[in-house]
């Protein structure tokens, strides 16, 4: 995968960098490449470029309208009532056994565990002004709470230091739950954070909003002080280009 020149970033072929982006390298190879990236701006740019492409492709297909009949709530073939009864009895029995056997549910509990894409801007690492975008596209309460935990911890840490943090939470797709489900625990937490920290901005994808409103044939009520951006992808790319670190959940 690599060329022979061992003293410059040029020794790393595009295939090798692709393998790094796609998490196909072993730990030793990753460490070596990360070290090289730190010392070689050109190599760092090549990696950033590939990561941006990867993000672009991923995000571009996230907003595709999947036909209703392919969505998860549709069962493949509906069982008869007797089958339901048999299945329910079986599940109750199995549930009791499993409930007895299982002591706790395993849930990931930090941001990195649940992150699907991360993109750190190396030039910002030692900066006094750190810009971070958290892109949320899930409605799972556990994950939303993790995002808020991390956001709260970061905002608090930076508030007590001389450094400045600019934090933006971008929501699209199912992530709109964070800004529309008024009354939920996580929306209340978000509102409190917004009131406390002026350096926290919350964005919502206009395209998703429009699509949901069109589908539900009613206007969605957003929490106060939410910025609507035309497109989440647009916003994410724009931020990454202007030096923001980016984490998608």
């Amino acid at each position: 995968m690599r060329n022979k020149n061992r003293h410059s970033g040029a020794k790393y072929s595009d295939e090798h960098l692709n393998a790094f982006i796609d998490n196909q390298l072993d730990t030793a190879e990753k460490v070596e490449l990360l070290d090289a990236i730190r010392h070689d701006a050109e190599l760092s740019q090549r990696v950033c470029k590939l990561q941006k492409l990867h993000n672009l492709v991923q995000l571009s297909y996230q907003s595709i309208d999947v036909p209703e009949h392919h969505k998860e709530q549709n069962s493949l073939n509906k069982p008869s009532k007797s089958k339901w009864f048999a299945a329910a009895s079986f599940l109750i029995a199995m549930g009791s056994i499993l409930g007895w056997l299982s002591h706790q549910t395993i849930n990931p509990d930090n941001l990195i565990d649940i992150a699907e894409v991360t993109h750190n801007n190396p030039s910002m690492n030692n900066s006094e002004h750190w810009k971070l975008m958290l892109h949320v596209s899930t409605a799972k309460p556990h994950r939303l709470n993790i995002v808020l935990n991390e956001a709260e911890a970061l905002l608090e840490e930076y508030a007590n230091s001389s450094r400045y943090l600019e934090l933006e939470i971008l929501t699209n797709s199912e992530g709109l739950a964070l800004v529309t489900n008024n009354g939920k625990n996580y929306t209340q937490r978000l509102q409190k954070l917004q009131q406390k920290y002026a350096n926290l901005a919350v964005m919502v994808c206009g395209e998703t909003l429009e699509r949901i409103q069109h589908k539900q044939k009613k206007k969605l009520t957003l929490l106060p002080n939410i910025n609507i951006v035309p497109s989440a992808i647009n916003q994410a790319v724009k931020r990454q280009r202007s030096g923001w670190s980016y984490i998608r959940i």
Partner: protein, 184 residues
């Protein structure tokens, strides 16, 4: 396989199949860029998966198994298409219709359009890696090609996309119509 294992496996199989439907659709769409064809491909995949459920030995490999079936369905579709027209002449989303030209040219459109212009082998590899996060070895197994070919196709695909997307002028991609408004 004992009866309990059989029941559990059957329930898991159906649950996973249902869960995978949207994901299969998105990948199918990224290959053909046409909603009706993607819909047919997923339906065919589900039917074949249910008919051949017994050939799935390890339920943990169900995801790559399903995408292998989808890939085969796509290949069959292209083969069928080839009987009537040359696949090289077949453009999926670049037909400029009046409706299309009136569409808002946002990044999603631009990226999807760029992906649609890739040769279908490169497009397949790219979406399996970028959208589904399969490893190169898994993609090689799904498509029945060597891992080296997966890497070179992916590299060519990203190079072509890079030329089309990252070289675009800033104002075309980002600032065109970008604005922020606040809801109070």
């Amino acid at each position: 396989m004992n009866p309990l294992e059989f029941i559990c496996r059957s329930a898991t199989f159906k649950k996973r199949l249902t869960e995978m439907r949207p994901r299969l659709y998105i990948v199918a769409f990224s290959w053909c860029h046409a909603a009706d064809i993607a819909d047919d491909l997923v339906q065919d995949t589900l039917i074949k998966a249910m008919r051949n459920a017994n050939s799935l030995r390890d339920i943990k490999k169900m995801n790559s198994w399903l995408f292998t079936i989808l890939s085969n369905c796509w290949r069959d579709y292209l083969r069928q298409l080839k009987q009537t027209e040359d696949i090289d002449d077949c453009i999926f989303t670049n037909d400029d219709t009046p409706e299309h030209t009136q569409e808002r040219q946002n990044i999603t459109d631009i990226v999807q359009k760029a992906v649609a212009t890739l040769p279908q082998g490169q497009r397949q590899v790219l979406s399996l890696v970028d959208l589904e996060g399969f490893s190169y070895a898994e993609v090689a197994e799904i498509m029945g090609i060597p891992s080296g070919t997966v890497m070179s196709r992916l590299n060519r695909a990203r190079k072509a996309l890079s030329e089309q997307l990252l070289e675009l002028k800033e104002e075309n991609v980002l600032t065109n119509g970008t604005y922020i408004r606040v809801v109070k």
